[in-house]
């Protein structure tokens, strides 16, 4: 079969990216006539910035960069890669966690290590709201995830804001435990499957085939949890991340993924704003508030289920996406 080159952006060693790797291992790209060309980014912001330079056409990213990309560079979100709310976590040291739970006010004046203006910062905001602590009462230290791990391991900071797989490193090597996650604090953090709007308009079919490949991966992962662990292991290793099998199992357990039907349901605007609309609205508000974007873009402007519907309407694609 004839294949066409597709520029795909990703980040290494993240659960939400596993379908990409899986599809490569299984040879699904070729089946859909795609010759994938991956470019890999250490974080969301450079990934989004590179879109402006036309480095990639489609990809998977976090929700904060997704919204940022929507606000600045016409990036569309066509599906949700997973729900990472439970793996965006404020972590505390085991010997301190009970005291903090009992009296969150004791955090006042303490240092919190966090990557600011990201999903985990959103989680921090909602957790603080629950504890009734104004953000200004904390010393919020901005570090990237790797730096947070280094710093937290040497005794810096009372809390560390991490996302997977860094939370497992913290759990296993630093005796840290989750204190407050996105799901605890009603800060729902989805992951975004994205495309440049211009590319979507020109190649709707290509984008549909791309999404179908990912959805097939999701379906396969749901059906084969044990093999999924092995795939993840290989994928994470290649990305330079070494975590235990327990951590991999935790990833699978804590991060819901959504097949074609579930996606359609989440995104359905049949009865007013969809569930996904509400998730993204909260995040957009947060990003506006911290100044990342001047005004949050309306969710309807970038979140679309058109591609999902296109797959659902095409029997061949649909069967492929459902791994049938």
């Amino acid at each position: 079969q004839q294949t066409t080159r597709l520029n795909i952006s990703m980040q290494p060693a993240l659960y939400s990216m596993v379908p990409l790797h899986l599809a490569t291992e299984q040879g699904w790209w070729r089946q859909m006539g795609i010759e994938p060309n991956f470019s890999s980014f250490p974080a969301g912001p450079p990934q989004i910035a590179a879109a402006a330079a036309g480095t990639w056409d489609v990809g998977i990213t976090g929700s904060a960069p997704g919204v940022l990309g929507a606000a600045r560079f016409n990036i569309r979100t066509i599906a949700i890669s997973n729900d990472e709310s439970a793996t965006n976590v404020l972590m505390a040291r085991r010997d301190q966690v009970e005291a903090i739970r009992a009296n969150p006010a004791s955090l006042r004046g303490q240092r919190v290590l966090i990557t600011v203006n990201t999903t985990v910062d959103y989680v921090l905001q909602n957790c603080l709201r629950r504890w009734n602590i104004p953000r200004n009462d904390l010393q919020v230290v901005n570090l990237n995830q790797a730096q947070i791990l280094s710093a937290f391991s040497t005794g810096e900071g009372r809390l560390a804001g991490l996302w997977a797989p860094n939370i497992y490193t913290a759990e296993e090597r630093m005796n840290a435990v989750p204190l407050c996650s996105g799901s605890d604090a009603d800060a729902i953090v989805p992951g975004n499957i994205i495309v440049r709007e211009e590319f979507l308009n020109r190649n709707p079919d290509m984008v549909a085939r791309y999404l179908a490949v990912i959805l097939r991966g999701i379906a396969w992962m749901k059906a084969n949890p044990d093999q999924t662990i092995q795939v993840m292991n290989r994928f994470y290793q290649a990305g330079g991340v070494t975590v235990t099998e327990a951590a991999l199992r935790a990833e699978v357990a804590r991060r819901p993924i959504f097949g074609l039907e579930e996606q359609l349901r989440l995104m359905s605007r049949a009865n007013g704003p969809s569930q996904a609309d509400r998730w993204y609205a909260g995040l957009g508000e947060f990003l506006q508030q911290v100044g990342t974007v001047p005004t949050a873009p309306p969710v309807t402007a970038y979140l679309t289920d058109a591609v999902l519907r296109r797959i659902a309407d095409n029997p061949q694609l649909r069967a492929f996406a459902l791994n049938q």
């Binding site: 980040q11 290494p12 470019s39 890999s40 980014f41 250490p42 912001p45 450079p46 910035a49 590179a50 402006a52 330079a53 036309g54 480095t55 990639w56 995830q145 790797a146 730096q147 791990l149 280094s150 391991s153 040497t154 860094n166 490193t169 090597r173 290649a238 990305g239 330079g240 991340v241 070494t242």
Partner: protein
């Protein structure tokens, strides 16, 4: 008779034996101190692994892929990226500097711009580089370029300005045109300065590398280090630093060879 040296370093010539002895002693002191610190347990191993542990890590990385590639591949990826960015900086910077040395007007336009921009870190260009050139190869190149461009221009410029006016005049009195003056007088006259500028620029360009590898991921010593840090593997971080140090050193040594060759050929000893 007691022969004393009264002139400091100018009067001393170390024998080769003594030189190497001291050099080795220097290394021994450095690694000895490091080992001692690591061994004493004053700093835990995840903060400061011992030299032996780092060596073991290096050997492991050499044979087993980490972050997708074996060590040598990371190193080559970095080196290739560096060479390209640096080559562009040299190819644009040196002619620009020479022209600035010859044409006053260009000098007056470019110099102030330069004088302020040189304080801005190459790292600060990372987001703009991603924005303008993406990550394929253009983005990293821009950052290495930003790091190494200024010394190229400045050294060529200084070199051209410092070429003895007499030589320029001598050429003119023999009927040389502007182009001939640049080609036969300014370029070779500025060459020693250009080459020492190349050394500086290669050093700075190489240092910008880690910054550039913050945008493109896949392979490279900087990437290796970032991933190592993510695993709290200080040994991997130091292994990456050693690679950067050794390659940077090797680049400098190579350029010094070129420098010595020119000096010898033109008799500009010192």
């Amino acid at each position: 008779m007691a022969k004393r040296n009264f002139l400091g370093p100018h009067g001393t010539v170390l024998g080769l034996g003594e030189f190497w002895l001291l050099t080795l002693a220097g290394f021994a002191l450095f690694f000895g101190g490091w080992s001692l610190l690591a061994w004493s347990g004053w700093l835990p191993a995840n903060l400061l692994p011992s030299p032996r542990a780092v060596w073991a890590t290096l050997v492991r990385l050499w044979e087993n892929p980490f972050a997708g590639h074996v060590y040598a591949d990371h190193l080559l990826a970095s080196l290739g990226r560096f060479l390209m960015g640096w080559a562009i900086a040299v190819a644009i910077g040196i002619p620009l500097g020479l022209l600035m040395g010859w044409y006053r007007l260009l000098d007056e336009i470019v110099t102030p711009l330069f004088d302020s921009i040189r304080f801005v870190a190459p790292l600060a260009w990372v987001p703009l580089a991603a924005l303008w050139f993406g990550t394929g190869i253009g983005g990293p190149l821009l950052i290495i370029f930003v790091g190494s461009f200024a010394p190229c221009v400045i050294s060529a410029y200084r070199g051209a300005r410092l070429v003895e006016a007499r030589l320029v005049e001598a050429a003119q009195t023999m009927g040389a045109s502007g182009r001939q003056v640049i080609q036969h007088v300014l370029v070779p006259g500025a060459m020693p300065s250009i080459i020492s500028g190349l050394r500086v620029s290669a050093g700075l360009g190489w240092q910008s590398l880690v910054g550039s590898e913050l945008i493109v991921v896949g392979a490279g010593l900087g990437y290796l280090m970032v991933q190592g840090q993510g695993n709290l593997a200080t040994d991997v971080v130091i292994a990456g630093m050693i690679g950067i140090g050794v390659v940077g050193f090797a680049i400098d040594v190579a350029l010094r060879g070129v420098e010595a060759w020119f000096r010898k050929r033109w008799g500009q000893t010192a």
